[in-house]
């Protein structure tokens, strides 16, 4: 299948491009290196020694004999987006091409408005390119579990049947997103659902949980193929950050009570989920939503896990309970459905002590690359 991976230079985009290529698909990637630019702005960088996209593609070809085409440009530019779609004529589009950080979107007004413009307009241009150039293509869009917020009822996969005053309907699950970034994913979801209903676009919206891990089958082939790994307060996610903090003897930064519960998954399972979605496409006019995670943990659970595994490895890990810089519930009910990808064939790689131990050892290998500056939380939801 001809697959276009948008944001194909990113943490998940690059491994996804390699994974789909190894699986026999004809893969092209698009990126404007926004992630690299933002990390530079933050004075942070990848733990792993990532190559630039051109070197990655070359190394992948050397190692596997496979070709990945790359296009450098910005999806918010409609003429660039159209050009890429005309050149590739994709049958599936895997869309990671957005500003992915909640804290980044909350730094200032400029960061918030930029995030909304970048994400919403880029996705609109993708929708219109599908409608006008490849109407039969399947859009696989990365959303986030954070779109739902933390309602006091069970979270379903995209839709909920509501009985109200003696009548019934199945409607989009109500969303209470928690940052300017999360809001963009909610806007995207509404825009894509509309495109499916009105123009018949086939779409899968993957509400992904927090991804951890660094190794996939392909990144293991050659160090030049490694993916980026961010551990700073803006782009690092909970477990990734904790493992780095453990390795450098920095107390784990737990925000508030640490009862914030979210869905998590191993990067290996992200690869699986994308492949399942691409190879089992939505139908024309269908807008389907999968919750893409394998397990739920609270931040406290994760900190304890890293502490325990650290002790086994002879590392003394302490925990620092910091005032929560975000405005969010620190203790809450959380129970989210996630059966649809399993029904398609997902075989979860669950988080075990061994996985964490292996993860910590990988981090140790790159220990001398860790920058201490950007680790402590500075971005506050109530800052101006």
């Amino acid at each position: 299948m001809r697959v276009l991976v948008l944001g194909g230079d990113g943490y998940l985009g690059w491994p996804t491009a390699m994974d789909l290529s190894m699986a026999g698909h004809d893969v092209s990637v698009v990126d404007n290196f926004l992630r690299r630019t933002m990390l530079t702005e933050m004075g942070a960088g990848s733990l792993t020694p990532i190559q630039n996209l051109q070197e990655r593609v070359k190394a992948f070809h050397e190692v596997t004999g496979l070709e990945i085409r790359s296009f450098i440009g910005d999806l918010t530019d409609p003429s660039f987006t159209d050009e890429v779609f005309r050149a590739v004529m994709p049958e599936a589009i895997v869309h990671y091409g957005e500003q992915p950080s909640a804290p980044y979107s909350m730094i200032s007004r400029r960061h918030g408005v930029m995030t909304q413009r970048n994400n919403v307009e880029g996705t609109l241009n993708v929708i219109f390119a599908i409608r006008d150039i490849v109407p039969d293509a399947h859009l696989v869009k990365l959303g986030t579990m954070g779109e739902y917020g933390t309602p006091n009822i069970d979270i379903e996969e995209g839709f909920i049947e509501i009985e109200h005053k003696g009548r019934k309907d199945t409607l989009p699950f109500p969303k209470v997103p928690g940052s300017m970034y999360h809001l963009t994913k909610v806007h995207d979801s509404h825009n894509i659902q509309f495109a499916s209903r009105i123009w018949g676009v086939a779409a899968t919206d993957l509400n992904q949980g927090v991804v951890y891990g660094i190794r996939t089958d392909e990144t293991d082939l050659d160090e030049r193929l490694c993916t980026r790994f961010d551990y700073d307060e803006v782009f690092g996610t909970a477990l990734n950050r904790f493992c780095v903090q453990a390795v450098i003897g920095y107390p784990l930064t737990v925000y508030g009570k640490g009862g914030q519960t979210r869905g998590f998954l191993n990067i290996i399972d992200t690869m699986q989920c994308i492949r399942l979605a691409v190879e089992n496409p939505a139908e024309s006019g269908e807008y389907r939503v999968f919750n893409q995670f394998t397990e739920q943990f609270s931040v406290r659970d994760l900190a304890e896990l890293v502490q325990r595994v650290g002790a086994d490895l002879g590392i003394n890990v302490s925990v620092d309970r910091l005032e929560d810089p975000r405005i969010e519930a620190e203790e809450h009910y959380y129970n989210a459905a996630h059966t649809k990808l399993v029904e398609l064939g997902l075989e979860p790689h669950l988080l075990s002590d061994e996985v964490v131990a292996h993860f910590i050892e990988t981090v140790q290998r790159y220990k001398d690359r860790i920058l201490l500056g950007p680790i402590a939380p500075k971005t506050r939801w109530d800052s101006r």
Copy 2:
């Protein structure tokens, strides 16, 4: 109270500015004349002979002795928006300043993306200006009943209590908007609700029905104070269009079966609702939603009403059932709550034969200004 009316040159913005000024408020208006520009693009124009904003303000001063300040500029420019907020230091902001037409947003990709950028970014800039410059001000934002779509359950005012698998929560009412324009209002609602939750912004989101009518107490004072009145297929709303069609002997353009049911209200009641919202503000951190309409009608009901009243006035009105250019349910359940504004004191002016007769007579006065070109529906939801 110092009130800033955004979009204060528009169909509702201008009468609102005058109404609030007459009620003793210190009113300033902002506009970039986008509506006038778009009408020029469509080859259409106002039925009524509207003056430019500077002439309106001058005439209003001559007639009433009252001052309305005006600021000309674009809310998507953050420095302009901040400048206005610093100059006025408003206590209430009435926000009509958006691209208001569903058909316009569906003309082409460019129109759709422009509508999303204009509406969402302008409103974000307003939110940030409130947060940073007048944090105690009250945002009165015009949304639309069209945000809800036509669910098979009763529509509530913004929120719904959901019981699900033995648990309960009150969550935002799920939205299924029907155009690129309606989507922007849904995006705004999420963004504003977030601003209330995170930054304590006091906000009232008015999900307004379809407004009809042309006369308010203030427009009646002097012909130079009249408001615009659009009857073309892009900017004209159902009843307004029908009355113009009746007067010129053009068959009423009913789309499809005509069972499309919506909430409607008289422009006089819009004035009342805005005043009630402004003078009974939301509290800091409160995000409240009022459904702003007084009665429900189907398009068929309205066509029959105009036909009947036309006959009484000696006008022979025919009805043309056209293929629906929109993608929407032509027959559906519709029952929407609208009690909160009544509880605040709204006294509805219901649609009667007399109201329609008076309305048709007003249209007759301007009959020689009617342009025939832009009346027939051309904008299709499935056009490319």
